[in-house]
């Protein structure tokens, strides 16, 4: 009979219950883990965003310049010897700088080559020189060293963003024979055999890419209509044909590879010159000169080197010729990397290397000044009224509901308000910090009202009662006693509200603060832009260098936000009293 166990009061087996408890504890641990995972994921996302911006933005705080020795030629700068400031500003500084650069490369003779060489310089390359001379005319006629700004592409190349480079020291003795325009280089070591293998590797990679791409495109065909399908089919056929020719080039291991612009560039530095390989075989290369070697003698092992620019020439903005010029100037110590003060001292520009954030920063300051002047008194006034004087009635309730709802209205709707009211109805100037400040003031006022009310509420009623007790009027009690004690809380709320206004973009787009403005705004009615809008504008531009500028501008914005928030926290820590 089973009675025995039951009457004992001892369970037959406690196994199932044990399992249940274990299961419940497992569920407990799992649940807790979900919470931790959610927090870690969020923190991870935040750090990825910040690090991403940091890595993209830091390079933009420095710029490459060439230090050129030039003679400040009087004939070009001040022909009449007047030292008149206007004449000095109009002088032909570009020519002097270009001549000085050309003097570095005596090889360069044709017009096309000279144009390519001048293309290394920024279109504002002579600005620094001009400023130097017009600031100190006594330098005319003397030899001076001028920092000359490089173009954004050259800058990107020197920073290593255009291509990665592989440098191999020559291990054998290199002999060169010149046959017409073609240099044939042969090494006694196995240097070229290695390079040949490497090049084959690149070819294989490209073949693989083409194969996967054609496979991917083929999968898409069934879902398309006849027209799109046939155009896609012809695209696939082109890819396949390219793959086929590639395949033919690879199959034979000993046939020389033609190096076209879709393959990495192989450059050989020998005797102070550079040869670009146009064909490679395991025994050596044939190529053309980019810089003529000083002599045709054989080069000893270690005295020559091979440079591979991995990104194919067709995929980068700096061609091999320019790349070699830059590399040469870098190895001679002519280019220097310096902190880009320009970024903080100049306005917007179409040229990435010349563009700066000063205009946007000034615009931001004007806009925020208007915002602060409007929303602080209005917000605090509204808070005092609602907290202390408002009768408890329907009107007050409507105002309160209104403020809470206003805090959650999409910011772009405030932009519509600005456009329809301030621009079209009141006819205020477009793109001006005045209107931007007005819109932002309305936008952040709910925040400030809510924060100020909380601060006023946190002052204990005993303070007010004591003031009333010694005969102060209601307003005296509030303005002389409650408000000063609530001030730290109000300031904290205001700073947070201003930080919010600082990062706001959408409503300012609506009121036309998106124009391309080079000048630094001088007042609240001048056309201007603000930092977040500048970020948006730059992020839309195709130049790669602008991406870095965008990220750098974001860093500046984040620093401002960080400072403001830190100030708010400090204020709270230092002045907030617990009652």
């Amino acid at each position: 009979m089973t009675d025995i166990t039951i009457s004992n009061g001892i369970p037959v087996t406690d196994y199932p219950r044990d399992a249940l408890v274990k299961k419940r504890y497992r569920a407990e641990r799992r649940f807790k883990f979900y919470g931790i995972a959610a927090i870690i994921l969020t923190a991870l996302f935040l750090s990825v965003v910040l690090l991403d911006v940091l890595f993209k933005g830091l390079p933009a705080f420095s710029e490459y310049r060439v230090d050129l020795k030039v003679t400040a030629d009087q004939a070009a700068l001040d022909p009449q010897n007047t030292r008149d400031p206007v004449t000095l500003l109009a002088g032909n500084y570009d020519k002097i700088i270009r001549d000085a650069l050309a003097a570095q490369f005596p090889d360069v003779s044709t017009r096309a080559e000279r144009r390519a060489l001048n293309g290394l310089l920024s279109s504002g390359a002579s600005d620094d020189f001009r400023r130097m001379i017009s600031g100190n005319p006594s330098l005319i006629g003397q030899e001076v060293t001028v920092p000359v700004l490089l173009s954004d592409d050259a800058d990107q190349f020197l920073k290593g963003y255009q291509t990665s480079e592989i440098v191999l020291e020559g291990t054998g003795t290199l002999s060169q024979t010149l046959n017409g325009e073609t240099y044939s280089l042969r090494s006694t070591g196995d240097d070229f055999a290695k390079a040949f293998q490497e090049m084959q590797g690149f070819l294989f990679e490209r073949l693989e890419k083409l194969t996967t791409e054609s496979a991917r495109l083929e999968k898409l065909i069934p879902g398309l209509d006849a027209n799109a399908a046939s155009s896609l089919q012809s695209q696939i056929d082109a890819i396949k044909a390219e793959a086929q020719t590639l395949n033919a080039r690879i199959t034979d291991a000993n046939v020389a590879i033609e190096l076209d612009e879709k393959l990495p560039s192989l450059l050989v530095n020998v005797n102070g010159g550079t040869i670009k390989a146009s064909q490679i075989s395991p025994s050596g290369i044939d190529g053309v000169k980019l810089i003529t070697p000083a002599s045709a003698e054989a080069a000893a092992p270690g005295s020559w080197s091979m440079l591979t620019l991995v990104t194919p020439e067709s995929n980068r903005r700096v061609q091999d010729q320019a790349a070699i010029w830059l590399t040469k100037m870098k190895s001679e110590g002519l280019v220097e990397r310096a902190f880009a003060t320009r970024f903080f001292t100049s306005g917007d520009s179409r040229e990435p290397e010349l563009a700066g954030i000063r205009g946007a920063l000034t615009g931001t300051l004007w806009t925020l000044a208007v915002t602060l002047l409007l929303c602080l008194p209005l917000g605090v006034g509204a808070a005092i009224y609602l907290e202390e004087f408002a009768p408890k009635n329907r009107v007050t309730e409507i105002i309160e509901i209104n403020i809470n709802n206003l805090a959650a209205v999409p910011s772009i709707v405030f932009g519509l308000l600005g456009l329809a009211m301030f621009l079209n109805f009141f006819d205020l100037p477009r793109s001006a910090p005045l209107v931007g400040g007005l819109v932002l003031a309305l936008l952040v006022m709910p925040t400030i009202i809510i924060a100020s009310r909380a601060a006023l509420r946190s002052v204990p009623p005993s303070i007010k009662e004591a003031a009333l007790g010694v005969g102060a009027s209601h307003q005296q009690a509030i303005f002389h006693h409650v408000l000063p004690l609530a001030m730290p809380g109000i300031m904290t709320g205001t700073i947070i509200g201003m930080a919010h206004a600082l990062g706001e973009t959408a409503p300012l787009l609506m009121i036309g603060m998106v124009a391309f403005i080079v000048d630094i705004p001088g007042g609240i009615t001048d056309a201007s832009t603000v930092l977040p809008v500048q970020i948006y504008l730059w992020s839309d531009l195709p130049e790669v260098a602008f991406q870095a500028k965008t990220a750098a501008a974001i860093l500046v914005l984040l620093v401002f936000l960080f400072v403001m928030n830190a100030a708010a926290i400090m204020l709270r820590r230092r002045f907030e009293r617990r009652w």
């Binding site: 807790k32 969020t42 996302f45 709802n405 209205v409 709707v413 932009g415 990062g503 609506m510 948006y536």
Partner: protein
């Protein structure tokens, strides 16, 4: 002139404040307590009289002055050129540049006359305004000065005035709402005279380009918002799918499990995330997340457009995590401890308590937190502008480009606009729908929170 006017206003106000205060103290003499109000209240009374009367003159006078100046300036101009607003503003632009000396070329005698008439009218009205304002202010000050005396209740008057000023401050919030409603409603009504509301609400095609010439082909303009609704919905759903679980679990952990030290570390992280400007997140979405998703899609043989709903939705989800978590944190904390204690006493584990007791109790609050987060996501602009694209595709595929209300508003209204065209007006209609939708969502959410608070208070 305006600057001078307000400078004089400020000067007069300050000096009359001093005069009033001085007068009151000298009247009181050796016995200050004989005054009903402190001397500075008498000063403030006078100052307020001055400031108010001068402001009154300005507010009433300035529009009149403007009208007069315009009439004088346009008197000599051919009526045909100023028949519409465009021509009139062109004339004024010319007048301004002539007066500033930046006019290109030589001005026609007609314009030059207008410019001189304009400038003389400006200076005339300016002087009239100033004289009128100062005269009224001084008259008011004389009257006020006579009132000053031991019996005069200056404090009560000043305090009443201050109270009205404070009331006006809080009325600004209401005025803002009214302003928003007016600025979108008028244009929306105008829009509906050109496009029928049925087409607007149920049309399946959105292409706001309208023909400039009547005989143009293929640009008739279609204003059906269904693709925008679907696009907005798609991105919002992705965002909530990310932010919902993450934000809720983060809130539960913070409220129920975390030690005060952990809270002190995690809370700032969430606050920082909430403070990152959306333009920064948009940059991240467009330049990092979107290419990443595209590359990832290609390795799996999927075709991902370079501006995908997924990228925008994911980043937007991350953006609204702090909203969900801080609001949910609040409502979970508001659940009374007695409910927890009761559950523990029955032998429930912590997670069982949370799942079976706390979450059901906090459900209304959590629902409202989600509603606020949704309204945030629907109204968010920069992330979608930078990462979601412009193509109004009617699709539910998150790997394709979609467009949203905010993107379309921004695209239509930024740059040159033709006034009163259906295209420009459609942006305001979109804004109206957006405003109305978020307002209703917020209103309901706030009401739920309010009722929920009352339940446990």
């Amino acid at each position: 002139m305006t600057a001078t006017y307000f400078l004089i206003l400020a000067l007069l106000t300050v000096s009359l404040f001093l005069v009033g205060r001085q007068r009151a103290s000298s009247l009181a003499g050796a016995e200050p307590s004989s005054l009903h109000s402190l001397p500075s209240y008498h000063g403030m009374f006078l100052a307020a009289l001055i400031a108010l009367s001068m402001l009154l003159v300005y507010v009433l006078g300035a529009p009149l002055a403007n009208r007069y100046v315009e009439a004088q300036a346009l008197a000599g101009i051919d009526p045909a050129t100023i028949a519409d607003g465009l021509g009139r503003s062109a004339v004024f632009r010319d007048i301004h540049s002539i007066l500033a000396g930046t006019y290109a070329g030589t001005a026609s005698p007609e314009l030059a006359n207008a410019a001189s008439a304009y400038s003389s009218a400006v200076s005339l009205t300016g002087w009239l305004l100033l004289i009128g304002g100062v005269a009224l202010a001084l008259a008011a000050a004389m009257m006020g000065f006579r009132l000053i005396g031991p019996q005069f209740r200056a404090r009560n008057s000043v305090e009443r005035l201050i109270k009205y000023v404070l009331l006006a401050c809080s009325a600004i919030a209401v005025l803002t709402t009214i302003g928003i409603v007016f600025s979108v409603v008028f244009e929306t009504i105008q829009f509906f005279t050109k496009v029928s509301p049925i087409d607007f609400l149920f049309g399946l095609q959105w292409s706001p380009q309208t023909a400039i010439r009547a005989d143009q082909v293929g640009s008739s303009g279609a204003f059906g918002i269904v693709p925008l609704v679907v696009g907005t919905l798609l991105i919002t759903v992705i965002a909530i799918a990310v932010a919902g679980p993450l934000g809720l679990f983060a809130a539960i952990y913070m409220a129920e499990y975390a030690s005060p030290r952990t809270r002190a570390i995690v809370k700032p992280i969430l606050e920082i995330l909430a403070g990152v400007p959306t333009v920064v997140l948009g940059f991240f979405a467009a330049l990092t997340v979107a290419p990443f998703i595209r590359g990832w899609g290609e390795t799996f043989g999927l075709s991902v457009s370079s501006e995908s709903a997924l990228a925008a939705g994911l980043v937007m989800g991350m953006m609204i995590i702090p909203f969900v978590s801080s609001l949910s944190d609040d409502v979970i904390n508001a659940v009374p401890q007695s409910l927890r204690d009761g559950s523990y006493a029955m032998g429930a584990t912590k997670s069982e308590t949370i799942k079976k007791v706390i979450l059901p109790a906090a459900l209304p609050g959590i629902v409202s937190a989600f509603m606020l987060a949704i309204s945030r996501a629907v109204g968010e602009t920069m992330i979608v502008v930078m990462a979601a694209g412009l193509a109004a595709n009617l699709t539910f595929n998150p790997l394709e480009a979609v467009t949203t209300f905010t993107v379309q508003i921004k695209t239509i209204l930024v740059g040159d606009q033709e006034f009163d065209s259906a295209k420009t007006l459609s942006a305001f209609a979109l804004g109206f729908v957006l405003f109305f939708f978020t307002l209703v969502l917020n209103f309901i959410a706030l009401q739920i929170v309010k009722r929920y608070r009352e339940q446990y208070d």
